[in-house]
Symmetry: D2
Subunit: 267 residues, 4 copies
């Protein structure tokens, strides 16, 4: 008998796998806040293959409210299979002299998105994420207009991770920049036994058919929680820069393997 499926649980039919086969199509709303922090703390999160960025102190927090589907779009009419929210922290770095970015922490609220992240090099944990939305009508609509405030929060393991508010001011000329370069993440999968991982490779996240609305920006506030399981205070904001709000879409058909990581750095 065959044992099919893009991901487990495998079966003769291939139905029932946690994640359907790529390509995957994504639409979202983004809320992004850029900030600067301790450059050494950022460097401590980079693999040996990456150098600090030209501005080694820059990072950003990205909140995303997603709807995604596989190629036959079947998840869209059963939204528990298509919707999820994410919060992730991205830092700048440099690879062979070229600017890159890297996702150092990320939380998500659905299992399929968590696993899809591990496959692509995003080290996802579960979290509870909320983001202000814009509606069509009413006093609670939070329209895209100067003065509207968009908030977002993330909590994981019942500890508050991050809280952000962006007040829209106007259309951005540049948009966010920290997360703009190609993203170099790490695919890591532990061994059946022992501490040496089976998979340990650097990958470059790509994507195609990117689309975006115009980008609003404005002043922002940003705070990281205390007592988190991760050492977030090490990369907490020293200075908060601008916040951004826009909608975005792209498609993904896997990530590109840049190469194996040097395993010496694990010892």
């Amino acid at each position: 008998m065959p044992l099919k499926g893009y991901s487990g649980p495998l079966s003769a039919s291939g139905r029932g796998g946690l994640v359907p086969a790529p390509p995957w199509h994504y639409s979202c709303d983004f809320l992004i806040v850029e900030y600067s922090t301790d450059a050494d703390a950022i460097t401590a999160l980079l693999p040996a293959e990456l150098e600090p960025a030209e501005r080694p102190d820059m990072a950003c927090v990205i909140f995303a409210d997603w709807q995604s589907c596989s190629d036959d779009l079947h998840e869209l009419e059963d939204p528990i299979q298509s919707q999820y929210k994410e919060c992730f922290i991205v830092v700048g770095a440099s690879f062979r002299g070229e600017p890159v970015s890297r996702c150092v922490y990320i939380w998500v609220d659905k299992d399929f998105a968590m696993f899809r992240g591990w496959v692509q090099g995003f080290p996802k944990k579960l979290g509870s994420i909320h983001m202000t939305r814009s509606f069509e009508v009413g006093k609670a609509a939070c329209r895209l207009a100067p003065g509207t405030r968009f908030g977002a929060t993330c909590t994981a393991n019942d500890r508050q991770i991050v809280r952000a508010v962006v007040e829209l001011e106007g259309i951005s000329e540049t948009g966010p920049t920290v997360n703009a370069p190609p993203m170099f993440n790490t695919r890591h999968f532990p061994a059946a036994a022992g501490l040496e991982p089976t998979v340990f490779e650097m990958v470059r996240a790509g994507g195609y058919d990117r689309d975006s609305t115009e980008i609003w920006e404005g002043p922002a506030t940003l705070a990281f929680g205390e007592n988190t399981l991760e050492d977030l205070q090490a990369i907490a904001p020293r200075e908060v820069h601008r916040g951004f709000r826009f909608s975005f879409a792209y498609s993904v058909d896997g990530v590109e393997v840049v190469g194996p990581h040097d395993r010496e750095q694990l010892r």
Copy 2:
């Protein structure tokens, strides 16, 4: 010392109450499916003061994805305080010869909205609700256009309550009608001891500053779960009529007391 607050927990400052004082402002997306069912089963859900509607077999399921706030709007930038999703079942009825509607079952996913419902005569339970959303860009955007399918599900007590899909066809001339008349619900609050409720009164839900986008409609599917704690199969669809999708907003400053319910019907 004073003991202040619109709702408990009360305190000298009044801070910390589960629900802030009205008025409350609401914006939402609606997905509504109308259907017909057993007229007697609908009548069994009406209080003695209400008669069956002219079309006594008509009901609808309403899914709503809300953002709400109190008068100072502070909840909007902390969306865990402002966002929630609901699913409710509304039937038609008649009061002194005039058409009315009535919410017979309702599920919601936040505590403040659950309690606000009890105050207004909506007998809310907790549930898990998902609704397809429309985004600005991308293949997963589910644009408001002919052929787009919007799905919604509600599960409570880990049992599936209802599943609906609406396929947009065009702009509706009439919009949904079952939920259009004034809604007559029951405020009910049990006694400190014994089975006779302390509060048992019929109320008329109002609201002001109503606003709405244009209404899309199209064919729909609708199914109720088996094995639910409520007797939903009694009012399950015999014929599914049209589905509707639109955005809506209004404000609420309490509900109007129509009068006490006859307590004889409780014995």
Copy 3:
């Protein structure tokens, strides 16, 4: 047609109500930490009818891991209907010269328990609560023995409310004392419109068929979260006293109304 049910949603059959009729039977594990705090801050949480306790600075945090059922026990074999966890803060007070206690804040993780609380004068909100359990076998069993550490946490609205750890030392001679006197809570239910509540009465929580295991006690740590929606820092621990761990059971058939609250204190 009749419209039956101990609580809404009401129907001809009475099935489907959020809370079945009392009596209710309860079994639980308790983790309790006593502490002292600012006496004035406690007094600010008392109604006009209660005076400060002889030791006006004493409070306790109670974590409870419950299994409950109504008289036919049907909920026990469907544990989503019977299990829930709670965290509550209890302070001492005095009523007509007699010592009483009062629940000033409380969080719970199920809807039926939340509503049952409102009926009995416990101003419950939803929260996420975790408590170390004792198992029968294994290194992770956390046996009831000197040196075992029991932890508990509560988070609400994605903000950490409280974190406690108790290290078992030996069998307690006295057990906890802050929550020992009769508990005087407030039943409060807002009006259909306006700020004056429909129900505002002081009740005395009773119960019968109480049973308990022996009580372990030991040193404890206790911390309240910052940035909570409630003003918890006002009653945060100044000194942490002893912690207690035991199992408990009782039955409840309503609470006794002590009398209406003076409504002047609401103005």
Copy 4:
């Protein structure tokens, strides 16, 4: 800089990984129901390397209420890091003439346990699991005694997966047998791009320091949900055998790789 951690997210300190390094220590309560189903449907869930069992129609559903920790036990006093519930379906099979078992579907309610499962060859998805517990005192205690009924439910993606009830009758002479042989699972991790997995190997789950209480058994009921994302109706019960309830503990320091799976079966 080093990039440490047993699992991602990796960092110089190694703090913040989703799963701490093994060994891991586990204590639990089990509720197990054995049943027979369509033998061909079981075979369709086996990899090419496994043959049907001597009794090819036998399967069981296992509910487990866990507390686990790594070697320094630190998770035990922060129970959100140590507690989780699981539901899994185990079938019999044969490997080179020897009886084995295999976990074909599994749901769990915490992220660390989900990922730990993927590392060990358990294809975990998230689910909501409830199990009746036994308490020390009270009418709701569900004591280990003849006639007590223990129920359990699992729901995933808001669809009910399985519902079971076991009524205790007496101490079991044999205990459950379907899950007794060594468990042969599949470690599977998709590639960075393309449909061919990076990791695809058969592993044998082991464990040491096993301990167990006496095993209660009795008659059981068992039902699988309709409309699940997995094809559960194919392996739904044709005949329900006995149910079992006991406590169990063991430790795990990885799983043994039996060998690579034949990749031909994926085409």
